[in-house]
């Protein structure tokens, strides 16, 4: 990116399961949005760009509540869980081109107390990735939900590369360890051992229950602006060095890719690293969209942190834990902090780069990566650096 955009505000709600947030879908997201706007030193009236999460809100509703005086930019990126990071990229371009001065990106849901994440897809065909294709060619055979769709790719990876359940377990255990250092993590106070993981019941073999993300209530948000405006806000910005998103071919059908392991990230990562002018070796931590354990392993491979087929060995031995070579999901991720659609990954990356991560701070963190994953393997990536 020629003129670096930056993140100047982050906000989160409490993350919870029982009894739930007690707030509306919009109210919950507004709470996170207001915190992000205040964190940036702005007022709601100054927000002139909003990028809601697909199916979870309209820019008009946010703007009316925040009192935005001139909402001149809005856009929704239809990439499921890849949307927040993909939105970061579009927001950076928008402020760079003067389409907006301050872009708010909110995301959140009552994923526990409202429509549960697992039910959303099977009960609302209009929100199905692939739309009619899934309805006509997957659902009649009971292939109805994300853990089922993705686990067929995980099995193929196990077949071709010898990836083992214990290695997926290392990912679940690492996320849970990190959650013990995060008071806002739903799984704080509930440690997990590899034995616990292996003993957990199968859900969609090879996925066990502990391979799957949480279902939680919560919201998070960020505010993006230009480097120039950030200076005026007197806030230490976090710069977007590179950002890209991509979709596999075809994106609407998961079984017929010539290269079955290709994801949107496979294409987006080289673009983002190219913009940033760095390599994966230069990265101090990575917040990887962890809807399920194997997707973390696969994204580490496709982003270039290791070679394809080597992800299993890469996640072993504490390498992805705090203190390891590449700490992954220092907040606990979707697996152990909360399922905030990956927006919590962006917030955590900013917190790390501000040096505000407390007990879980990655010492000397200068460059961090955030990824998003959605639908049938859409991908997004942002490379962030501290000021």
């Amino acid at each position: 990116m020629s003129e670096e955009a930056c993140i100047v505000g982050i906000g989160e709600t409490a993350y919870m399961r029982k009894p739930g947030s007690g707030m509306s879908l919009l109210g919950l997201q507004l709470q996170a949005a207001v915190r992000a706007i205040e964190d940036a030193g702005l007022t709601g009236q100054q927000i002139d760009g909003i990028m809601p999460f697909p199916n979870l809100g309209h820019a008009e509703g946010f703007a009316a509540n925040l009192g935005c005086r001139n909402l001149r930019f809005q856009s929704i990126i239809w990439m499921g869980g890849a949307a927040p990071v993909a939105s970061l990229r579009v927001a950076a371009a928008a402020v760079g081109r003067g389409l907006a001065d301050y872009v708010l990106i909110p995301a959140g849901w009552n994923g526990y107390s409202g429509a549960r994440a697992r039910q959303t897809v099977s009960e609302d065909v209009s929100s199905l990735p692939g739309g009619a294709i899934a309805r006509d060619f997957y659902l009649p055979f009971g292939f109805t939900a994300p853990p089922q769709w993705y686990s067929v790719i995980a099995r193929r990876h196990m077949h071709e590369f010898g990836t083992r359940a214990e290695q997926l377990g290392c990912i679940a255990v690492a996320m849970r360890k990190h959650a013990q250092r995060n008071p806002n993590a739903v799984m704080n106070g509930r440690p997990l051992t590899l034995e616990d993981y292996l003993a957990s019941p199968m859900l969609a073999d090879p996925y066990r229950v502990f391979d799957c993300c949480l279902e939680t209530d919560g919201a998070a948000a960020v505010v993006v602006t230009t480097a120039e405006r950030a200076r005026d806000l007197g806030k230490e910005p976090v710069f977007i060095m590179g950002a890209a998103s991509g979709q596999p071919c075809p994106a609407d059908e998961i079984t017929n890719r010539k290269d079955i392991f290709e994801t949107g990230l496979s294409l987006a990562a080289p673009e983002a690293f190219g913009q940033a002018g760095i390599s994966p070796r230069d990265v101090d931590f990575a917040q990887i969209y962890d809807c399920f354990t194997f997707e973390v392993l696969q994204q580490l491979e496709e982003a270039g942190f290791c070679k394809r087929g080597e992800g299993g060995a890469f996640v072993e031995g504490g390498r992805i834990e705090l203190g390891g070579e590449l700490p992954v999901n220092t907040h606990g991720g979707l697996l152990s902090e909360a399922h905030v659609l990956g927006m919590n990954h962006i917030v955590e990356a900013v917190r790390q780069l501000r040096g505000d991560a407390g007990e879980r701070q990655v010492a000397g963190a200068e460059i961090g990566v955030v990824t998003g994953w959605g639908d049938f393997g859409d991908g997004s990536i942002a490379i962030l650096r501290r000021a």
């Binding site: 009619a132 055979f141 067929v152 790719i153 859900l203 969609a204």
Partner: protein, 141 residues
Amino acid sequence: MSQDDTSIATPLPELEGLTGAFYGFCKDGELRFQRCSDCGSWRHVPREMCADCGSWSWEWERSSGRGTIFTWTVVVRALHPAFQDACPYAPVVIEMEEGVRILSEITDCPPDELEIDQPVEVVFEDASEDVTLPKFRRVAS
């Protein structure tokens, strides 16, 4: 299981357009995929154009009906109420001799006997008065 759960119907395809044509052949006991008339490449699921060469010309060509198991999942806990009684069951990806892959199930194979590269052949199973689904059974390699 409550009565409400068992009353939820199994989802069926909507028999419109190219999808309707695909399932229409299944009803007649034929597995057919689109094949590009220009570059000869096969495709599934149905598409308007050839993604390989851009051609709009294609025909519904008969598949040999034979393929091998490419991968699968075993659904132990249903995430759609219509499939609660079916657990455990295995959605399977089959790679056909023509090169396309199709999501289906193996009718004569318990999930714990599934094997990658196992040869299979198509069979047809009526799911309703109007819909016949292509499913598969094991054949000797």
